[in-house]
């Protein structure tokens, strides 16, 4: 069963489903950028939203491969399973994979244990700006959704950035119908969010119907864990500093969102299939980003501030 097929639709009657509409809108956005921008790139973070975005890109340009590279802004602290899927998907899609690691962060040994917020700032925010400047990309696709967070609900699909990568929420271009203004001056760039109008449930359902490969960490399995600040953290490699005498505990866990493994909280779960994961998601009562330490550090306007500074 796939979303694009017209199995239950007739030319005269029947509505397109919401997933068919969302898919058509995202494909339209992806094609507009390729037609109007000089050097687009797709930010690929290997999470479920990236998986859907990549899948849509392959559909949009089929039978051609998507005519832009994938860029992974790497922190060197992602889960092993993410690196595996990243390399597999790049090979399968026939797209060039660019991996960028901020050399300064690398040299200074910036890590999530010793450096707190600086870790995200240097590896992700700074790393992303450096990578975009290095390759001269004028348009970058990101997998953010408007239902994730309040400031994102107001961001445009085409989000304009100054030459210093800043976002000004007060002077966004009006976006009417499906007419996107991709014009910009030299040095300026645009972030494009093709899945702006998808919700978390839409993403899961689409992965389910289209059988899109995702990192196995989204499914429950027995994994080695420790507890830190009330979060269950998976011990993914031997860089994890255990306390004296501490040994990882095997728990049945899965992840609702994926990032740097030492910063990503797991949930205890038995959901090992997609329908079970969706069921759990619909019945739980905490929102998705709750598992990420990044949103919490500056009160309720934290994400908006980060975005103004250039975070995706």
């Amino acid at each position: 069963m796939s979303v694009t097929g017209n199995a239950e639709l007739k030319p005269e009657s029947g509505s397109l489903t919401h997933l068919q509409r969302l898919e058509a809108e995202s494909i339209h956005i992806l094609r507009e950028v390729v037609a109007e921008c000089e050097r687009p790139v797709m930010l690929y973070s290997v999470g479920k939203d990236s998986a859907v975005m990549l899948h849509l890109a392959r559909k949009a340009f089929y039978p051609s491969p998507p005519p832009f590279p994938l860029l992974h802004v790497d922190t060197t602290w992602k889960f092993k399973a993410m690196y595996d899927l990243r390399d597999k998907m790049a090979a399968e899609s026939g797209m060039e994979l660019l991996v960028y690691q901020n050399p300064e962060a690398k040299e200074r040994g910036i890590n999530p244990f010793d450096h707190g917020a600086l870790h995200t700032d240097m590896w992700k925010t700074e790393g992303l700006k450096q990578a975009l400047d290095k390759y001269g990309f004028d348009a970058a696709f990101g997998g953010a959704r408007r239902d994730e967070e309040k400031s994102r609900a107001k961001e445009r699909v085409f989000s304009f950035r100054s030459a210093s990568h800043r976002w000004d929420p007060k002077s966004q271009r009006p976006e009417l119908w499906n007419l996107y203004n991709a014009r910009k001056n030299k040095g300026e760039s645009i972030r494009i969010f093709p899945i702006s109008n998808w919700t978390e449930l839409d993403i899961w359902q689409y992965i389910h119907l289209e059988d899109i490969p995702i990192v196995p960490l989204y499914f429950s399995a027995p994994r080695p864990t420790v507890e830190r600040d009330g979060m269950i953290i998976m011990v993914d490699d031997d860089r994890f500093p255990l306390k004296p005498g501490e040994a990882p505990v095997t728990r049945s866990i899965r992840f609702r969102t994926l990032g740097c493994y030492p910063l990503t909280g797991a949930v205890e779960s038995e959901a090992a299939t997609l329908p079970a994961v969706i069921q759990e998601m619909l019945l739980t009562t905490t929102s998705e980003r709750q598992g990420r330490a990044i949103d919490r550090d500056a009160g309720d306007a934290s994400m908006e501030k980060k975005k103004q500074e250039g975070y995706f």
């Binding site: 017209n6 739980t284 908006e304």
Partner: protein
């Protein structure tokens, strides 16, 4: 207080818990409705949206906890939950307690998924409402039952109708605060009915609600037994979608991108804006008018037997016909029109006012062309719907004007096809989106004036004179030395037996342009006419020298685009303002400083220096003689 969560008609938690596969099957068949809510600052708009999200379980426990603590801290509802806080996003507006932009919210019922555009009721934000309404199938117009129709109610209704929304809901809110008084409700509906008819809204759906209490939102309220119509959710679940209605229209697909993975495959990718299509259907490519038939409808999941409005597809055709981005593939027997002059409604969205005559980028579907707008025929007062005389349009102004595109555009009246009738205007220098527009019809003139082919060509004229035609376009501040240097250049060229003509700013204003003043709009028209004259002279084989301040980049660019490539040579006579003012040959700076001359370039009207002129003359280091030599040398190089 009745908690709507308990009696919600779309409680699905049990199904999710008992049979997730059945739930997923149901969810995957939902359709999608986009709507907007409009109301004044205190009409309870954010509360209503917060209520819809809350009732459909789109609020998680952690968000709810944050909402409860926020409600107590900054809320306006005492100890009760202030749903509005859930909806008002950006930090700056939190403190002001108003919504300042378009925000999109999501919720779903058993039958549909919904995207709500939350648009502000604030006076100065017409552009946000038009933006939110442009993608909506339906508009909910909120009225405070205590206050009845307000100026803003009329404005929002007018805008919703203008943008082509067919389904209007009149939600009479805060019924709890008037004790569910039916006669008061009826009076408001009657008021609205006569107003709606006066602006051309044929039908609308009124309902008495309370976003705060939850009356008639998801289930019929016991408080309004006299009301027998649908609840808000029932209505939202059942109205016809625009995308479904568009299927009955003739097939149109603007081409976004040509897909050529190899020499054997050539596909045309686009989003179908109207109609349906099957392999074998005869189609026509616009603007060429060539015909072919559809061979395949290609998707990654396999070829389709048919496709409908709202789907993104790739078509292949049976014949090798020219077709590229900007073209429209249409059903063969009923194609859209092609024209270059139109009447349109324009909504101005930028701080800088519209400049009649200035070239803007016009983007319509996948076509981007240069367009100029004439002075508006009238502006609409959005509060009274009166037509007012206007010379321009300011931020948030709406008016009707004729416009002209530099090449023909494939279009349909906005009322027939939003995709082929809706456009945006983009400033050529700042790249900002400055306006939205809706085409009404093409002007007959474009169809009747044909280009007369001439037997003596421009090449023949140039050949006779034994020279390459060109325009030396001098630009610079008043008193920079343009006329002096231009005169010297012409004398030198004539001595070299070149055929030249000098168009001087002051002289032209005595004749050709004596009807023009010095407002921005008149300056643009002045330059446009001079550009056209210079172009005719280059067609005659002449070397044209022009000496005009020509302060705006956009107009110099317009003239550049009129000329044959390589024939436009921009000469920046670069004299600092202080130096020009010190010289003040004609005494004009003194007059301007004294306030006796308005719109004087450099004093109270800007000069936009060229960014990359072909020739730049620094008059502080060159004499006029040296400057003229340098220009002649560059020209004949």
């Amino acid at each position: 207080m009745a908690t709507a969560v308990e009696n919600s008609s779309y409680q699905v938690q049990d199904l999710i818990a008992e049979d997730i596969d059945a739930y997923l099957l149901q969810h995957q068949h939902k359709s999608l409705l986009r709507f907007i809510t409009c109301g004044s600052v205190d009409d309870g708009k954010s509360t209503l949206i917060g209520r819809l999200l809350y009732d459909s379980k789109m609020i998680f426990e952690d968000q709810l906890a944050a909402l409860e603590s926020d409600s107590k801290r900054v809320g306006t509802q005492g100890q009760n939950i202030d749903f509005a806080l859930l909806v008002d996003g950006l930090a700056a507006e939190r403190e002001q307690g108003i919504t300042i932009d378009v925000a999109y919210r999501f919720f779903a019922t058993e039958k549909r998924k919904f995207i709500v555009a939350d648009t502000p009721g604030h006076e100065q934000y017409t552009r946000n409402m038009v933006t939110g309404a442009s993608t909506a199938d339906l508009a909910v117009i909120l009225v405070d039952a205590r206050k009845g129709l307000l100026t803003q109610t009329r404005r929002h209704s007018y805008l919703a109708h203008l943008i082509g929304i067919r389904n209007i809901v009149l939600a009479v809110n805060k019924m709890d605060l008037i004790d569910y008084d039916q006669s008061r409700y009826d009076a408001i509906v009657e008021d609205y009915r006569s107003f709606a008819a006066s602006i051309g809204i044929g039908a609308f759906t009124p309902m008495p609600i309370s976003g705060f209490i939850g009356d008639n939102i998801t289930s019929p309220s016991d408080n309004t037994r006299w009301y027998t119509g649908p609840t808000l959710i029932q209505h939202l679940e059942n109205v016809e979608l625009d995308v479904t209605a568009a299927r009955a229209m003739p097939f149109r697909m603007p081409v976004q991108w040509v897909n050529r993975p190899n020499l054997d495959f050539r596909g045309f990718s686009g989003l179908i804006s109207a109609g349906t299509i099957r392999p074998g259907d005869p189609v026509r490519i616009l603007p060429s008018g060539k015909t072919s038939t559809v061979r395949r409808i290609v998707t990654q999941g396999g070829d389709l037997e048919f496709a409908v409005a709202g789907q993104s597809v790739t078509l292949t055709l049976a014949d090798e016909v020219d077709c590229s981005r900007g073209d429209v593939i249409s059903i063969a027997e009923n194609p859209p029109e092609v024209a270059d002059q139109f009447e349109a409604t324009i909504v101005w969205m930028a701080d800088e006012a519209m400049l009649p005559g200035r070239p803007y980028w016009l983007k319509l579907a996948t076509q981007t062309v240069t367009a100029t707008i004439q002075a508006p025929k009238y502006q609409v007062n959005v509060n009274t719907m009166e037509h007012l005389a206007a010379k321009t349009l300011d931020l948030n102004a709406i008016g009707v004007a004729n416009l002209q595109t530099e090449r023909p555009v494939i279009f349909e009246a906005y009322g027939d096809n939003r995709t082929l009738g809706g456009f945006i205007l983009i400033d050529k220098i700042t790249n900002a989106t400055v306006a939205a527009g809706m085409l009404h019809f093409s002007l007959r003139r474009a169809q009747n004036v044909h280009w007369q082919a001439l037997d003596v060509t421009r090449d023949k004229h140039a050949e006779l004179k034994n020279q390459k035609p060109a325009v030396l376009w001098f630009t610079g501040l008043s008193g920079a030395g343009k006329s002096t240097i231009a005169n010297l250049v012409e004398k030198k060229l004539v001595r070299m037996n070149r055929h030249t003509f000098l168009l001087d700013g002051d002289n032209v204003r005595h004749g050709l342009n004596r009807d023009l003043g010095f407002t921005d709009a008149d300056r643009i028209e002045n330059i446009r006419r001079v550009g056209e004259v210079a172009k005719l002279m280059t067609d005659a084989g002449l070397i044209v020298i022009t000496a005009f301040i020509s302060p705006f980049r956009a107009e110099r660019q317009m003239v550049r685009e009129m000329m044959k490539s390589g024939e436009f040579i921009e000469v920046h006579i670069d004299t600092p303002l202080a130096e020009a003012e010190a010289r003040d040959v004609k005494g004009l700076y003194k007059k301007a400083r004294a306030g006796a001359l308005a719109n004087f370039t450099g004093i109270d009207s800007p000069y936009e220096a060229p960014e990359a002129p072909e020739i730049r003359i620094d008059t502080t280091s060159l004499t006029p003689e040296q400057a003229a030599d340098l220009i002649v040398e560059e020209l004949l190089k």
